[in-house]
């Protein structure tokens, strides 16, 4: 119970700070909107295949995650609140709180990206359940990897564009699976049953990444 209360406190603190400034959320949404519009303008009227649609959707989500979520620990360093957190809450609870916060941000990104993209590219979604499942499960794995790496870059001296460099190589297995699953959801038909294997892979990947991240987090977090 204590563990849940501590994680909840960290999450609550982040949510409240976010509600005050809405910096991370606004930045993420603006990034998603502008990159989607760029893609739409660049493509023009041309019809885009389902495979390209799901690939572009996930590339946009991945890039916005790598840009927006990196702040979660950097902000603590800037505000000088790291020591306070270290003293009050055990590392795993900090990690859990931040992980859930990042996941919620990603869900917002997914939602906006999907709606705008469907509008701009005339997406036809055959299987909503599969698409939502792949977006949500993919976001869990993405949030797990990003949260640990955000803690890592908060320790680095030049924080700038480090997160995408560290993040993308790790996410290639996830990207391949989610793109396939979303593509099956867009195409419908026979591919849907085959996408179950992909969903399992995403689930397994997220589980392994989060487990490894929890185990390794203390080494990054404690001095």
């Amino acid at each position: 119970m204590n563990w849940i209360r501590g994680s909840w406190a960290v999450l609550q603190k982040d949510l409240r700070l976010e509600m005050r400034s809405r910096y991370a959320l606004n930045m993420l949404l603006m990034f998603v909107l502008s990159s989607l519009l760029l893609i739409a303008f660049a493509i023009g009227q041309e019809a885009v295949s389902e495979r390209m649609q799901s690939a572009l959707l996930w590339v946009v989500i991945l890039f916005s995650a790598s840009i927006g979520l990196g702040r979660s620990f950097v902000a603590e360093e800037e505000r000088g609140t790291v020591l306070l957190l270290q003293l009050n809450v055990p590392g795993s609870q900090v990690f859990a709180g931040k992980l859930i916060f990042n996941f919620l941000l990603l869900v917002a990104v997914d939602l906006v990206a999907l709606l705008v993209f469907a509008l701009l590219l005339n997406m036809v979604i055959e299987n909503w359940g599969l698409l939502v499942a792949s977006l949500l499960l993919g976001s869990v794995g993405l949030a797990g990897a990003t949260t640990l790496l955000a803690a890592i870059i908060a320790r680095a001296s030049n924080k700038g564009p480090l997160l995408p460099v560290l993040l993308f190589p790790l996410l290639i297995p996830l990207l391949l699976s989610v793109v396939r699953a979303s593509r099956a959801a867009l195409e419908g038909g026979l591919g849907v049953s085959g996408a179950m294997g992909d969903l399992q892979t995403i689930l397994l990947f997220s589980g392994v990444v989060i487990t490894a991240a929890v185990l390794l987090f203390d080494y990054v977090w404690q001095d």
């Binding site: 640990l148 890592i152 001296s157 560290l166 190589p169 790790l170 391949l176 990947f205 490894a212």
Partner: protein, 230 residues
């Protein structure tokens, strides 16, 4: 400390071993194989590079684990040097593979890069090591750098095995043993295997020489730059 005489002995054995392997690789007659013909000799070089990369990945991950357990700087040096030499062998394996496929299966086409599972794996390992080196450059304090770089190295090592499962489902392979391709033992003549297995041992031995030499150099450099009396 290191027993220098034993070290020299092992090193000399590996050097002689590699010389014999190289001579055998070019001089021994090999049976004619469709498409490949004499480029099949590349088997002795291209495949051991991949084995060596894997060995280096294991050594690097093991020492990263030890960094977290003990916090010794020596372990960090070992993890870094294994990663560097692993990246070197990875690049060699990638290049030999690309050139090989271009002038055999893809001769007459414009294809250089193909999305072969193993090729993708190697390029991913290279990307990860690239990111690992960049991360190290962004950290100033040596003990902090050792610990955080080790975390990244281990974290990366937990995600890469997924590729073994994910990629073969979506990409076709040129390599033996993959779906629809003949197994390795069916397409290689015994005489080729006679050179091939020693070549793997030889290249891993070569890795060991380069690795231990680089670790010693790095240790000395570290001592010179940190010991105020020198």
């Amino acid at each position: 400390m290191i027993n220098l005489r034993r070290y020299t002995l092992i090193r000399n054995i590996i050097l002689v071993w590699m010389t014999v392997v190289l001579l055998a690789a070019f001089l021994l007659n090999i049976p004619k194989i469709n498409i490949l013909e004499h480029t099949a000799r590349n088997l002795y070089f291209h495949v051991p590079m991949w084995f060596t990369l894997m060995a280096a990945v294991f050594v690097s991950a093991y020492h990263s684990f030890q960094v977290l357990r003990t916090g010794e700087i020596l372990r960090d040096i070992r993890a870094l040097q294994a990663a560097r030499i692993g990246a070197f062998f990875g690049i060699l394996g990638l290049v030999t593979g690309i050139v090989w496929s271009k002038f055999t299966w893809y001769v007459g086409t414009d294809i250089w890069w193909n999305f072969d599972p193993r090729q993708s794996m190697v390029s991913l390992h290279l990307l990860i090591y690239g990111a690992y080196f960049v991360l190290r450059g962004a950290l100033d304090d040596p003990t902090k750098r050792a610990r955080i770089a080790a975390v990244y190295n281990l974290f990366a090592a937990t995600t890469t095995p997924f590729l073994l499962y994910v990629i073969p489902r979506q990409m076709e392979s040129l390599h033996p043993g993959a779906e629809g391709n003949p197994a390795f033992s069916e397409i290689t003549h015994p005489i080729m295997r006679l050179v091939f297995y020693p070549a793997i041992i030889g290249f891993i031995g070569l890795f060991w020489i380069m690795y231990t030499q680089r670790v010693r150099t790095a240790l000395l450099k570290n001592r010179v730059s940190h010991d105020p009396e020198l």
